[in-house]
Structures are given as C-alpha cells and as structure tokens.
Amino acid sequence: MLTLGPISFLQPWLLLGLAALPVLYWLIRATPPSPRNVRFPALRLLRDLQPQEETPARTPWWLLLLRLVLVGLIIIACASPVVNPAAGLPGSGPVLLLVDNGWSAGRDWPARQALLSRTIDAAERANRPLLAAATAADGPGPPPTVSGLMRPADARGWADQLAPRPWPGDRAALLAAITEMADLSGLETHWLSDGLDDPAAADLAQTLQRLGRLTVYLPEAGDVPLVLDTPQTEGADLVFSVRRPTEAVEDAGVVRLAGEDGGILARQPFTIAAESAGTDVRLSLPAEARNRVALATIEDLEGAGSVVLVDERWRRRPVAIVGAAPTDSSQPLLSETYYLDRALAPFAEVWYGGLDDLLERGPAVIIQPDSGQVTPDEGDRLDAFLAEGGVVLRFAGPLFAANPDALVPVPLRAGDRTLTGALSWTTPQPLAPFPPESPLAGLALPDDVLIERQVLAQPGPLVNARTWARLADGTPLVTAERRQTADGTDAGWLVLVHTTAGADWSNLPLSGLFVDMLRRIVALSAGVADTTDAVALRPLSTLDGFGRLGEAGAAAMPIAAGTFADTLASPTHPPGFYEAGETRRALNLSPAIGPLEPLALPPRVATEGYAIDAELDLLPLLLAAAMALAIIDLLASLALRGLLVVGAKRGATALLVALLLIPVLGDSSPAQAQGQSLSPENLALLAANGTYLAYVVTGDPEVDAISQAGLDGLSRVLTQRTAVEPEGALGVDPEYDELAFFSLLYWPITQDQPTPSADAFARLNDYLLQGGTILFDTRDAGIGRINEADLRRLTAGLDIPPLSPIAPDHVLTRAFYLLQTFPGRYADEALWVMDADETINDGVSPVIIGANDWAAAWAMDAVGNPQYTAVPGGEWQREMAFRFGVNLVMYVLTGNYKADQVHVPAILERLGQ
C-alpha cells in the first residue's frame, strides 16, 4: 500500500502505467483526426483540383491533453486509491471485537456497524484473525461468550447478523468467559461500548488491558442512550421521567403517546439541561385520549430504552357503583345511579353489582351512593381496598343521614341540614371556590349550582385539612381522607360528598361541574387490574432492540401471574405485552435498567468516538470522471468532424432547460414555503392570486403550527369535496397585514397573545364591517374554559354585534352539509353567532365564537394523516369537524344563499299549482 497524504493506493504497481503516457502522447499526436465527410454533387468539377499546400493535419493540443488526462485517470483508478484509509492494525495477534449490544446500542447502531466493518477491513488488510463477543445474550440460552478465531469474511457475517437486544448486556458473564480462555496474549481489543457503567465494566477493561492493547469507543456527547421510565399518574396527567448518564451537553427530544392503532395522541417536547441526568415530562391529555394510550416513545430515537408500553394500570379506570344498573324505568331521573352513569360513561368503565362481586373484579374506584349503613364486614373489606390504593367515593342521602357509620373521612353529625323550606331561615347555598390544595382546584364554578340539603361534619382539627370543597357558608361539601398501607406509605382515598348523587338534595348532579369533579376524583385512583384466576401470562408482542413492537418470538417465555409485578425484562422475558385471557399487562424495560452512570475506565485506556471519517474509495469517482471526459472527447471529435452542427442548438437548449430546472426543483411550493416570514407585499401578492384561508399568528409556535396544518387540512378537504379550491393557509398579523384578501380569519386564543394595538383594532373593525368573518376559537372546551378571559381581552376593542347561541335553522347548519353540532377536537355545544340580520353583509355573522379547537381536528400532516385525536368521538367526530369547516367556508363565501331554501316548500307548492 502506497500512501500519499490522505490518499492510499491499494495496487500501487499499476501506477507504472503512467509511464506509458508519453508513448501515448506521440501516438495520438501522429494520428490526424478523421476528415469531415461531405457529399457533394459537383464532385466532377472538384476532381484533379490540387490544394496549394498540404500541411500535416494534427490533433489539436487541447484534445490531446483531454485524452492524456482521460487515460491518466483510468490508470490511477486502476491503482485503487482510497481517501482516509482505515488505520492499520499493527501487530500480529488476534483482534477481539467486543460490542455492547444491549438496549443502549439502538440509538446509533448504524455507526457501530460502520465501525465494525471498518475494523474488520483493517484486520483483513493486516492479515489478522478475529474474535468476536457481544455483551447481550441472543436469547434465553447460554450467557454471552467469546467466539472462536474467525477469518475476516466470517467476522463480517457475524457483524451483519449482530443486532441490538431489548435487554441489558451482561458484561460479568463475558468477563468470566474471557478469564477462562487460555493463551490470549497479544490480543488487541476494540470495545464498541455504550458509554454506560456497570459493576463489571472496570474489571473487564483491566483484564483486556492486561491481555494487550485496548481501544474503547464511546458515544459522542449528545448521543448517549436515553431511558424513558414508566409514567407516574398525577391527577389527570401522566408524568414520564427521561434519564441519561450525566453529560455536559444539552439533549432534547419529544415524548410521544400513541394509541393501539399507532395514531398519535399527544406530543410533548423536553430538554435535558447540560450537566443534568434527566428531566420530567408531563403530558396532560383528556381522560378519553389517555385511556387509549398504548405506547409512549421518545420520537426518532431508536432503542428499546426509549419505549414504554402502557397497559391497563395507566389506562382503564373501572368504576364500580354499588347498586343496580339504571334500568329503563319510567322515572330514571329519580335514580341516583342514573346521574352517576351519565357522568362517568364518557371516560370510565362503569360496573354495577354487589360490593363483594365488585371487589373481586378489581375496580379502581368504588362509588357508594346513598345506600344506608355499611356493615362492619363490608367496612373492613373497603378498608382493605383503600389500603391497596383504591378510591372509595360515598354520597350522602336520607338513608346515610339516618344511619351513620364509621367509614367516613371526617366525623359527622347525625341527621342532615336543610337549607331551604318553610321553617328555615337559610337559603340554598352556592359553592365557594375550591381550596387551592384541593384536587378539585381550578374547576369553574357555575353560578346556578345550589345545595339545598347536606350532612354536616363534626367540627374538629382534621376537618379543614380534609375538605376539598365548601359551600359559600364554609360548611364542607366534599371531604376526603388519604388512607395508608400497613407500612405507612400513601394509598387510596376515601371521599365523601355531603349531598346526594341524585337531584334530591341539590342540583349539583345536573351541572357540568359534577362531571368534572367525578373526572378529577376518578383520575386519583391507581388502576387495580387483577389476574387472580390466570396462572401465567404469555407473551403477545415484544420489542426488538430498536424499540419496535413486533410478534413475540418463540424464545420469549410466559410469566407466572403472581410474579409479574417483580419480573424484570431479560432475555427470557423480553419487554412487551403479555396476556392471559382478557388481561393484558406490559413488561417494560426501564425497571431493569439501574442508575445510569458514564463508563468509568482504568487509566491509560485509549478512547475514541464513533464518528469516523468514512473510508472513501476513489475508484468509482475516478472512473466516472474518466467516463465524463470520454463523452466530452466524443463530442469534441464529432464537432471537429462537423457532425455536431445539427444537434448543437438543440443540445444547448436542453442544457439551458436543465440548468433552469435545477432551482425550480429545489424550490418548494410557495404555500409551504410561506410562514410568518412573508412581507406584507408578498402576502398581498400571494393572497390576491388565489383563495387562501387565513389564521391570526399568535406568536406561540405550536399553536401557529396547528393553525397552519389545520387550515391546510381543511383546504384539502374543501378541494376534494366542494367547488371551493383554496390554495392553502396563510398566517396574518392584524398589526400590519392587509386583511381584505381573506373571507375567513381563524383566530385561536392563547393566554400570552399580546392585545392588538388600537391600529390593529381599527383594521379588524374595518375588516368586519366590510364583510369579513372571524372565527374565534378559545380551544378550551376540553380543559375547563381557561381562555375566556383572554378572549375578552383580545376582542375588547372590536365592534362585535349582539351574539346568541346558534339557532337550529341557522344557515351555518345547512350551507353544505346538514349539521346540528359543530365539534372540533372537543365536542362542545356552544357556538355563538350574530343575531340574524339579513340587512348587514348578506346575513353573514362577522364573528363566530366557539371553544372546540377546530384547527387541531383539521390538522393533517404532509400525507394526510390526522395529527390530534378528537375526543370523545374519535374519527367520526373529526369527520363532523371537517363538515363544520366546509359549512363555515361555504357560509362565509356564499352568504345567505342557502337561506333561500326556507322558501323552497313554498316555491314547490306554487309550481305544483
């Protein structure tokens, strides 16, 4: 091998061919180019005419040079030059390839493969045999060990088959295997490590260092493996923690929750600060969506460590109501369970039955409506249930008041208190705002909820701390007690609502607050899925080393039901879903991963990174260059012989077209390229040349991206289904953009949006006056109307006419589709439009206000897949959301055109006569 700077020649003796170039030069020079061929009718007249002098025809010098370069390139190419040749492997002993291929190797596996193949190449050139060892076992067989001596070709086969495994590696077993091997002196080791420490790591490194040279490859900064831990439930939120060995650089990613079908339910970006070992990622999503989560992953990060499988423990909330299911009785409104059932059904699984049966099925929450005394026996069992982490929710009522029992969070006075009636001086009480430490804090209080009767707590030291909700006069309405397990850790909650679950004592069950309160309380519970009758759980689907869920392999073993909770992921039990009958449990990898520490190596160990300058073989490049020169030579020869005249003009045109096409192809379509960066002039030019749907840029990149994707998605649906073919969506800022081009302005409300200036308000008022329509979307129907104040703030300067809830015969209900609901991502009923006034702007309401986060329901990615789940209705609700969007655009574009249909019956009748 001959090395010249960064270039090495693998077949240097072929360079001797360069010596032949001068001979070639003389030969080419002596041979004149062929004459031009011309057919000529008057040939007879040309005969025996002698040109005055005949100079020897010579190949022009530039053609000569071209040909010499061509031949030179071919000769150099034949000598197999490579740039950045793999460093040689000096020495003669065997080379050991040691690869950490546990869960931690998935993140940059291709780099490891490249490094392996490069090392094998280098060993092959140095004629050294290879040994191979991987730290993770292939399956539930023998522990990992060292292979016998291999030739490079065999080693290549081994490296190709090697894959990361979804369980931790076992360096201790490998250390034992190496210690047992005899005569390993002169061993040179290349350790492709994952950069993580474990107890055997230092010993292993020392042993290998004793045997010979040791080179350890460590992941680059920012490339260390991340572990996504199983989530904790905090209220309605899921909290994941992301771990890594402490590093000096920042790392960022996105935690993504996906459903059973792979649909994305939520995404949450996170950043791990430099010098920190992890961070918590909080994902809050509606209970309906949370119940569908099956998989949590760190986006675009391969490896089993970044995947958490979510099973019933985090998802299903079976709620057991002690009592009979509400039947189709003639008076359902008198039954307490009817109200509970209606409130719970959207987000929880509701069971009915006797207490004993229900406890056996393992519910998360037991609700005891007003049912009289809890027998001491039942009380014991409920206590045990509470100690296991269950939630018991009790409601007061006439029977409860008359028969006090011990299972209450605070001592109660006997009897009940009536706040209204002929003999009472008090009036029905509204609720006071929830105490800030209460789990119910933050729920909106409707003014019209009034409590007429309640049971009263015995005043005492504990009452205040245990009160979650009060009446306006300060008496407790909801009290709760946290129970503890035998060893003193926190367990379940005992919650008492001091009024009825039916409408007898209050109108609370008739309000939306009742639903929200139940939702919060149910979210407190830890699911208690039990598998008492199953013997073992068999593997259903397992993760591979890259974190992909697939069919369970034959090697995965079932897990005994009793020990499932204590089982860690291992070659015998790879992480995945295990099932027994109806029950499905997830075995996650992260509990099997201990604390993450950077790999500690003994001194004087050579370390390198994985990033390598790839060896670049110049042979194909040189041959391609020679081929290009040959084509140029051919063209030049043809030109010299006059055969290129015809094609020249056409060829030049083609070349010109090709040059012009390159920038065109590189450019993306204007609709996508635009963002918030358009100047007002360009925006006007763009918007004037096509129909665009517009949204107000809020400054929150996430919300703006949703608006853009949503209106793009709506445009796509409009194009498919209707005669309206919008070009796409444009973001506008009322502060400086001209709005006259848009018939519809979508305005998502965010809390930190700046209030428009007086100028912008004037501009917006002008827009509304001239026939524009703004759809205000507070986007908070599912999360408690938190943006209403901001809506008020942002619209304070607008001339908004009187609004009313949309009438069933409003044009918007039949502009294209016949609709009576207008759902978006959420399905809230209320949609506010201007009172019908046909005289202004064709009856089109200048302002439409709702809270359903329509853009999120409309949002599609580039290939047309929806990006956010619609709750609670799923895809059907999304379809309805699109229909609302279609109707809305039709409505703003066509005005009261469809309103004429009210006269259709009359017209038809007249035609009939």
């Binding site: 004459p35 031009r36 011309v38 009718p41 040939l43 002698q50 040109p51």
Partner: protein
C-alpha cells in the same frame, strides 16, 4: 411534401403572376382548340363580331335575330381559340435531390415548385401542359393540373440514377414549347446530345439551371472528404479553402458552355440558386415564354 401541399404552394406562387399567354405565331390548324382567344375570327365559343352576309357564306351561319333587326342578313362570327403545348421536365438524380443545409430546400424541391407554378399559370392561360417523362398526354383544365402534380410526385420517388440528370428522349408534338429543370452539371457533350433530340420539334426551349449556394460558393474549409452520389470514388482534399477560386472558375466555365450550347440550339438558359426567391426564376421563365425577349 405531398402532392397536395406542393400543388398548393405552387398555386400560391403562380397566383402572383397574370395568366401566361404563350405567343403562338404559327399554330397549324391541326392544333387542338383551346380557350385561348387568338383575337381573330375562327372556330371557338366566344362571340367575336357580326359581319354582313356575302355571297358564298354558308346559309347556316346567318344570325337570324341580327338579320331581323336590320336591312341585310348578318353573319355571327366567333373568335378563333387555340392552345399551345408546353412540355415540362425536371431532373430527379441523387445529386439534384441534395441540399447543403437543412434550412434550404433541395434543388429538386425547388424545381418541382417552379415547375408546378409554371404549369398552373399555363393552365389558367388555357395552354396544354404535359410532363416530358409523364404517362399522360398534354391536357387542359384543373383536373389535368392535379394529375400533373401527382405525376410529378411519382417521379420524385423514382429514378435517381445519373441518367435522370438529363431529359429523356421522348416523342413530342411539333411546335411545342419546352422548359427543362436540372442542375446541368453533367459534361457539356452529354447535355448537347440529350437536347439534340428535341431540336426539330420544339419552338421555344428553356433550360433552367438550379444550383445550391454551396455548389456555387464552395464554402468549406479544412480537411474534407467529398463523396458523390453515383458510386464515384471519394475525394479527400486538405485545405479546401485554397481551391475555392479554381472551383468557382470551373462552375462559371460550365455555365458559359451551357449558355453557348443553348444559344446554338435557339434555346434560353435561366440560372437560379435555391437561396433566391422562387418568384424571381418564375418571372424570368414567364417573361421568356410570353415572348418578351424570346424568338
């Protein structure tokens, strides 16, 4: 070019000139009649004059309507109408179908265009036109013109041997006119021999020499291998630009010889280059045929 489009282009070209009247001074009575009035009394269809009856005139000629209007009997006399026969021909050999650049027409194409334009003019003037190497007898009328165009198309795809560079020896009617299109690059004695066959029959003869500009100017330079069209051995010349002068002298000598030859036979020579407008050559032949300078 199909026969129809060629015909169309020729008609367009011919429409720029008035109908061609071929001077026919000594047309025998045997010449068939045509619509071409001779401005004297004779057989024909158009009215010419009324003349007083003179003894000896056939009684059948008396125009009774005129006679009834006047005192004496009158005869009705018609204009004498007769037609000239014009033979047309163009060469079809390989060399004649050549062009130096794609942008110019071939010599044969230009000859075909001129030939048809001339035929069209003659036709509308009532003359009888025929292709010298065609199968149809001299004819009259539009249908005949179309047939001529198709005949021309047929010969275009026909013979391209060196013999096709000279007119064939066909029997022609006496006192006819003849227009021959070729590049006339064959040796002069051969041309003289070919034309000798028509000497006695042809009243007006016209040679039209059509040349490609490259044949006149020899615009080539450098080392060129010239090959001919008829199995001649190729000729490789270095530095063609140095013999341009000599070649142009030879072309001029050929044209001079041709002109002398034509003059001796009482014919006329017209020279046309394919980069010139075809109207120019057509006008030249038209004026010659109309007798402006001929005979």
């Amino acid at each position: 070019m199909t026969a129809a489009t060629l015909h169309g282009r020729a008609e367009a070209l011919a429409s720029t000139l008035p109908p061609l009247l071929v001077e026919a001074e000594r047309v025998a009575a045997v010449v068939a009649q045509g619509v071409h009035g001779r401005r004297r009394v004779g057989t024909g269809e158009s009215f010419w004059q009324f003349r007083r009856y003179e003894p000896g005139d056939p009684v059948q000629r008396i125009d009774w309507r005129q006679t009834a209007k006047r005192d004496q009997p009158f005869l009705r006399q018609l204009e004498w109408e007769a037609a000239q026969t014009v033979y047309l021909w163009r060469a079809t050999d390989g060399g004649f179908r050549w062009r130096s650049t794609k942008s110019a027409p071939t010599k044969a194409d230009r000859a075909g265009l001129l030939l048809l334009a001339l035929a069209s003019l003659l036709n509308s003037a009532g003359e009888r036109v025929a292709l010298l190497d065609g199968n149809s007898p001299p004819g009259l009328g539009r249908a005949d013109l179309s047939r001529l165009a198709m005949d021309l198309q047929r010969t275009e795809a026909g013979d391209d041997s060196p013999a096709a560079a000279l007119p064939p020896n066909r029997a022609v009617q006496a006192h006819s006119a003849m227009v021959l299109f070729s590049d006339w690059l064959a040796p002069l004695p051969a041309i003289e021999a070919a034309l000798a066959a028509f000497q006695s029959k042809v009243e007006h003869g016209h040679l039209v020499q059509i040349l490609d500009p490259a044949e006149v100017d020899l615009p080539y330079a450098g080392r060129i291998r010239f090959s001919g069209f008829h199995n001649e051995s190729a000729l490789t010349l270095a530095r063609v630009d140095t013999i341009r002068q000599a070649y142009q002298e030879r072309i001029a000598a050929q044209q001079e010889g041709l002109r002398a030859l034509a003059r001796a036979a009482g014919w006329q020579l017209h020279i046309h280059r394919t980069d010139q407008a075809p109207e120019r050559a057509l006008l030249s032949v038209f004026q010659a045929l109309a007798g402006a300078g001929a005979v």
